[in-house]
């Protein structure tokens, strides 16, 4: 800590000022949202609200607010999508990585990125209507999975290499079956990469609006839908509360990711 403080104090003044501006710029929306969530009588051109109130928070988490339900729904969708995409991505990326036409498979895995989630959702809509998946939890998970699965493959394909293949073969000659190779060799080595993949796909799902709006048809009340719902009805204080709630998992994940990066080093 003291080393960091000394380091910062030894920086030239202009760099310190620039640093403060950059950090301030990054955190300004958060401060603004926090202020907005408790603001009362904040009329133009006042820089700050006339008074503060926790009414929006009470309303959001109160009996009729449904924010808790939305938070749970978002968490459930994102956890399920991230788990499925990471697991399936690990298996598929291995198959693709060792395939003689690896390049083609990687190209195919990029397909979901050609479309934005909302366009992907529109493309899937007709099929999902036929399958009775529109407006359901399963439908939203399935739609987001398609997008996140491709992302997981692209992220994990770099993990597989000839050295790892040799380690797998070595473990097998030492007596390890396929499951033991996975559990004792691949899983421990892949853990940091899997964690990053899980967090990234979790974030994609957590922050998605377009696909969940189309496939969910307003019947799967995730947090991103709530933000737009409150904005649409002109309730900016409630929208700010929900937006702040949306930030909690990404922030926690950022901190965890940083810890993972440190461990990896």
């Amino acid at each position: 800590m003291s080393v960091n403080s000394n380091h910062i104090s030894s920086l030239p003044a202009w760099r310190r000022t620039l640093g403060v501006i950059v950090i301030g710029w990054c955190w300004l929306p958060v401060v603004y949202l926090a202020l907005l969530s408790v603001a009362r009588d904040w009329a133009f051109p006042k820089l700050l609200p006339s008074s503060l109130s926790l009414a929006a928070w009470r309303l959001a988490f109160g009996p009729g607010g449904n924010l808790g339900t939305s938070f749970m729904m978002s968490t459930a969708v994102a956890l399920l999508v991230a788990t499925l995409a990471t697991g399936a991505g690990l298996v598929a990326s291995r198959t693709f990585a060792y395939h003689r036409r690896r390049g083609w498979w990687v190209l195919a895995a990029h397909a979901p990125f050609v479309l934005s989630p909302v366009i992907l959702g529109t493309c899937l809509l007709f099929l999902f209507i036929k399958l009775h998946l529109v407006g359901t939890f399963v439908g939203v998970v399935a739609g987001q999975f398609i997008f996140c699965y491709g992302y997981a493959i692209i992220l994990l394909i770099g993990f597989w290499n000839p050295h790892l293949a040799a380690l797998e073969s070595l473990a097998r000659t030492l007596g390890a079956g396929r499951w033991q190779v996975f559990r004792r060799v691949l899983l421990p080595l892949a853990r940091p990469m899997l964690a990053v993949c899980f967090f990234q796909t979790f974030l994609i799902s957590w922050l998605d609006f377009g696909l969940v709006a189309v496939i969910g048809a307003g019947k799967v009340p995730v947090l991103t839908l709530r933000v737009f719902e409150y904005l649409g009805s002109g309730n900016v204080n409630l929208a700010a509360v929900v937006a702040l709630c949306l930030m909690i998992p990404p922030l926690a994940i950022l901190l965890l990711n940083r810890r993972l990066a440190t461990l990896a080093v």
Partner: protein
């Protein structure tokens, strides 16, 4: 301990062939290895040595031919059930495990109890001089130490056949010589049956009890060391001629002067 080659047909390979596309990598490989003996196969890079070992380990399938170990036909047996350990050219250690856990990796797979595991590896640790390295991670070891660990890990599971794919090829000359001596010493003490492939004539002569030469997918076997050395394909005659020519140029007082009489 019994003399090398107790059971002369302990390992029996018959008509093994392999193609990769249009390229014929192995062509009718046939040989036998006696129990507790080391069969050294000399060959140039790209001559099919690694493919041969990988087929014997079950990591690559042969197009034709059979492979028997003792009374058991292993041709179609998966690698984990062959109990044959393959030692790579690079000293491959599991990077997430320390030296001790690398050594006992194969034993843990067999669900042995701790006392059996300890009894199995402690003599090996002493024999391979690894006592001071047990808690270290692979990245903290030198090339020679890593190869010792890999060798110890292979021996710990007491394989009926050990396959060595130029295991000392990546080591410096001194460490390599040390490892060759160590291998020979441990092979005699433990009674290892092994197939050792190398492109180095001297290494083949040091470690082998029987010899073969693999070139362009074809294997020639030799009944003894003199026959192997005398054959032009081994390069033995040329090597001896080279050292003899140096022998004439060296001063008479040099103690380390090689003599070829």
């Amino acid at each position: 301990m019994s003399a090398p080659g107790n059971n002369p047909g302990f390992v029996a390979v018959e008509g093994l062939a392999k193609r990769f596309g249009p390229e014929r990598v192995l062509d009718g490989i046939t040989f036998t290895v006696g129990s507790e003996s080391v069969f050294a196969i000399l060959g140039r890079s790209g001559g099919g040595k690694t493919t041969l070992l990988k087929i014997l380990a079950g990591l690559v399938s042969a197009d034709s031919g059979r492979f028997r170990l003792g009374e058991t036909d292993l041709t179609f047996v998966p690698p984990e059930r062959r109990k044959i350990v393959y030692l790579y050219q690079e000293p491959l250690l599991f990077p997430h495990l320390n030296v001790r856990e690398n050594l006992v990796f194969g034993l843990r797979l067999r669900h042995l109890d701790e006392s059996t595991i300890r009894a199995r590896i402690e003599p090996l640790i002493e024999r391979l001089g690894l006592a001071a390295q047990l808690e270290k991670m692979p990245a903290q070891l030198s090339g020679g130490q890593r190869q010792r660990v890999a060798f110890g890990r292979a021996l710990a599971v007491q394989p009926p056949l050990l396959l060595l794919d130029e295991p000392f090829g990546s080591l410096d000359a001194t460490t390599r010589a040390d490892m060759q001596r160590l291998f020979k010493q441990v092979a005699r003490q433990v009674g290892i049956t092994a197939i050792f492939v190398t492109h180095d004539l001297k290494e083949a002569l040091i470690v082998g009890d029987r010899f073969g030469h693999l070139d362009a997918g074809r294997l020639r076997t030799f009944s003894d060391r003199s026959a192997f050395l005398a054959d032009s394909s081994s390069g033995g005659a040329a090597e001896i001629a080279f050292w003899r020519s140096l022998d004439c140029q060296l001063p008479a007082s040099t103690d380390a002067q090689p003599k070829f009489n």
